[in-house]
Structures are given as C-alpha cells and as structure tokens.
Symmetry: C2
Subunit: 302 residues, 2 copies
C-alpha cells in the first residue's frame, strides 16, 4: 500500500494544497482563497483534504504538513501571522481535531526550503539555505536535514539581516538597512528609479527593470547587480555561521537568472571565510509548489 | 553505579582533561602540554585517562568527548588543525582503538558552548550562541540542544562574519572586515593605539587597556565600546538567522564586564529584527573548564 501525505501552504491570499506520495509525486493539487478566520481556514482545508482523499482508495495517509506565514513553535503553534491578521493559533491541535491525522506545522519559507531539499534543486543536500527573493526577502535554513526554527520560530529570517545602515533605508520591520531593503523587488525598483527613464515611470515593477536590463539598459543591470551583491554578502555571512553545502535562490526576482546569480556569487567569493566557501549556488526549481513538497517532506524526507 | 565520562579539550598549547559525572561534578582534572604529533597526542591522552579512571573503581565510564581546534565532521574526524599542524585526522577512530570506549569529537569552541549550556550560564537553554572573545573571536552555536557543525564542520565561525569592509582591516583568514578584526583583543589594542598614551606603549595588551578604562581613560573606554558595538551588531545578525534564547560572552576580553556587555546589548537592540530580539545576554561562567564540561555534555546533556 503506497503512502501519501498532504502538503498545505497557507498564504495571505491563497491556500495551496497537494497530495504527495512518498516518492515525491504530486498526485493532486488544489488552490483556494484564504479565509482570514482561523476556524474557517481549518474547516475549508479539511473539507478539501476529505474531497481529495476519496479519489485514492486503499492509500495510506500519513498526515499533513502545513506551512503558515509566521513563526512556528514545536511544529504545532504559530505565534502570529500578520498577513492573515492572526495572533497565536494552535494550528496542529485545531487541524488534528478536525482531520484526525498527524499534523506538522512549519513556517512557510522554512517549509519551502524543506521541499527544495527533498525534491527540488537541493536534492541530496542536508545543509542548505534557501533565499526567497520577491517583494521582500524570505529565508529557510536546513541543518542536518531539519528546519532551523530557533527558540521562538524566528530562525531563517534572512531578509532582516542588518547589512548596510543608511538613514533612508528603513525596513517594514522598523529597523534600518535590512537585507530586504536592498535585495528585494522593491529594492531593485528603488535603485532603478534613481535613473531616467525609470524615475518617470509610474507603477514600475521588477519585471520592467528586468526587461530593460535584457534590452541592454546599464542602469537596470546595475539595479539588479546591486541586489545581487547584497545577497552575496548575506550569503558570506551565512556561510561562516551555518557552513551549508548549498544556497538556493527562489522567488520572483530569481527570474533575473544569471544577472542576479553572477553578482551574488561574485560578492560571496570576495567576502566569504575561505574554509566555508565550498558552497554551490542554484536557482530553486519547485516554484509555487515548493511549500506543498515541503509539507510532505516533513513526513517523507529523512 | 554512577555514570561518568571524560571531557578532553585539546588546545594548541595544552590539553585539559577532566572526569565528569552525569550530575555535572568535575571529579578530577589534569592539564598537560600538547604533543604536536597526533599519535603521541592520543597516546598521552589515553595514558592520563587510564591513570584517572583507576581512582574510581565501580564507576561506569560512558566514553570521552574530545574538543579539537579545527572543523569536525560527523563527531569523528577533524579536517585540519592549524594550531597543531594537523591535516585530516580520524580522532574518534584513533582514540577508540587505544581507549576502547565511545569517543565523540567536536570543534573546541562548539564544545565549550555545549558545556555552558549544560552546566554554565546557559543552563536550561536549548538554543544559544556563545562568543569567545580573546586574541580572536570564536563561536559556538547550539540549536535545539545540539552543536550546529554544518556540512563540513565550519559552522559557528562567528569571528569571520564580514561586518565592516575597510582596506586596512585584513583578517588572518585573508579577507577584510571580519568581526574579529574589530572585536578581538587585537582589535581593542589597535583602536586604543590611535591615542596617547597607548600609541607610545610597547607590548600593549588588552589588560592594560581595561586598567586604563577602569582608571577613567575615555579613549580606553571607547576602544572597548568599539569592540562591543561590533559584537552587538553580529548578535543582531545571528538573532534573525538563528533566533536563539541567549548569547553568552566568554574569553579573556569578557573580563571587561559591563563595559563590554553594555555596548553589545545597546547595539544589538538598535539593529535587531524585533520578533527575534527577545534574547538574554550573559557572561559565560565555566572559564577554562567549559570544554571539559562540553565533552561530558556530548554524552549527558539531553
């Protein structure tokens, strides 16, 4: 009898839910709008799981791995989810009550890193760091095959490494000079906006900056390189702290490809403590499904 | 029958060896010069262990935890020890062969952090970072009660966090602006030497700078504060990456006491990502015995 489990990636806007077998096959996937109320959220998740599982008679379901956008303690409780307006919620307890199965909870960025380790670009690694570069910069750290959650679930908040102080560079967290101020899509847009024609463009997005870069615009390239350099410096910091085998770069900004990865690697090589510099860099490969695979990895990756 | 084990702290100059029981009592301690040759080193360690154990008939010895000054893989092998002129050495295998007991090997700074967690200032914590501030800056990271060694044993090399680039601030590792360039005893001395009377003093040590600071010298205080600020900034970086419960500061420079800890905490509070800022700071308490306790902690701390 083959074994499966659910991977559930709870986001601020949508929930992605998939049934994954122990070989890493994604058998079925659903996506639905996120109810803001925790009870409504848990009811609709369990309802979807019930609907999916009936399609697979005779299968053995080991449980569900659930990612939430907030700090998670003991694979069970989330301390707060600002995207969902949640305070402290006993996610594992509430879902177990409804679904009568084993529930493991993790931070969404950490869970995505688990997914990439199990079935993505990090296959075969047991020590890796994933940087998710989008509107902000998220992170997931895997040490010896397990999520580094820290004492209060705040481990891996790489975007908030205080990197370069500047009084104009305030982060959403309230502090100044966090990595994500420079290295996120917003950071790239701000860097590009210092120059014509970007300075005149309303609703400038990272996509437009990338297009200009591919079309040969030097300022666009510099804006992306600037983000890459900051990410590379952060990787140099992380390498001497964690000594990982691999850095994975995912998220929307990773679409810039080598234009982002080259300056990351270059600034990493310049700064990294030599005994910890033996690291590979790669783009994440699972995209939006990384969380689903990561939920399954909480059960199947050893 | 009470259980004991050996903690062995192999340094570049001396070896410290202690017999510790499962309650954390240090029953007997020895210290002897470090033979540079690995075989001579192992022979003399085992000879001392044999001599010690006969004093405790009827006791059950669980094994020995051995710290070495280099990156350790799989609690067994050290990749290199520059202080001892060693390359790759199979420490666990060689000692097991001679001592016929279970041997666990760790990096010395990591082992000291384990010791402080088990029986020192970190008692009751399972997630902590120890900074050992002496001639250089060493580090040990404990995550969920275990040493973070990383893929190749280089985890916790906190002294090599690239913090502030400056072309004059080259580190022994070859890179520029590593934490230990600013925050070590050497960094404090260099900062003090910018000013009279320190600029004229031959063989100025950190001790003389501390004494001048206690006597009211403002430049001496600034030199120590400068190191503290850099350490606090490094702690702010580490907090969002690791989310520890506690930072412990040990090593010779920690003798500066509040004059060092106050600027550490102040710069930490200024820079740290708020959700990860709930951390305690304390001085390490086990001093030179931290490694011995740490060796025993590899067996007894759970």
């Amino acid at each position: 009898m083959s074994e499966v489990c659910f991977g559930v990636d709870v986001g601020g806007t949508t929930v992605k839910l998939g049934l994954v077998d122990s070989e890493g096959n994604l058998l079925e996937k659903r996506e639905f709008a996120s109810p803001k109320d925790p009870n409504a959220m848990f009811d609709v998740i369990v309802s979807h799981m019930d609907q999916v599982i009936v399609h697979y008679p005779g299968i053995r379901c080991m449980g569900a791995g659930v990612g939430v956008p907030g700090p998670v303690i003991d694979e069970a409780m989330v301390r707060s989810c600002s995207n969902l307006g949640w305070g402290r919620v006993m996610v594992a307890e509430e879902l177990t009550k409804r679904a009568h199965m084993n529930i493991k909870v993790a931070n969404d960025a950490n869970m995505a890193a688990m997914g990439e380790m199990w079935m993505g670009a990090g296959k075969g690694c047991r020590n890796l760091v994933m940087l998710t570069v989008g509107t902000g910069v998220g992170g997931g750290i895997i040490v010896d095959g397990k999520i580094l959650a820290g004492a209060l679930g705040g481990g891996g908040e790489i975007g908030h490494i205080p990197l370069h102080y500047h009084p104009d560079w305030q982060c959403n967290c309230g502090k100044y000079g966090c990595l994500e101020v420079t290295a996120s899509a917003s950071g790239i847009i701000r860097a590009a906006k210092q120059y014509h024609p970007f300075s005149e463009m309303q609703d400038l997005g990272a996509k437009e900056v990338f297009e200009a870069m591919y079309a040969g615009d030097q300022h666009a390239r510099e804006a992306v390189e600037n983000a890459g350099k900051a990410l590379g410096e952060a990787c140099a910091i992380l390498a001497c702290v964690l000594n990982p085998e691999m850095f994975l770069v995912g998220g929307g900004v990773s679409a810039a490809g080598r234009a982002l990865l080259d300056p990351i690697e270059q600034s990493f090589r310049e700064k990294c403590f030599p005994p910890c510099a033996n690291v590979r860099f790669a783009r994440a490969t699972l995209g939006n499904n990384a969380g689903i695979y990561g939920g399954a990895a909480l059960f199947f990756a050893h």
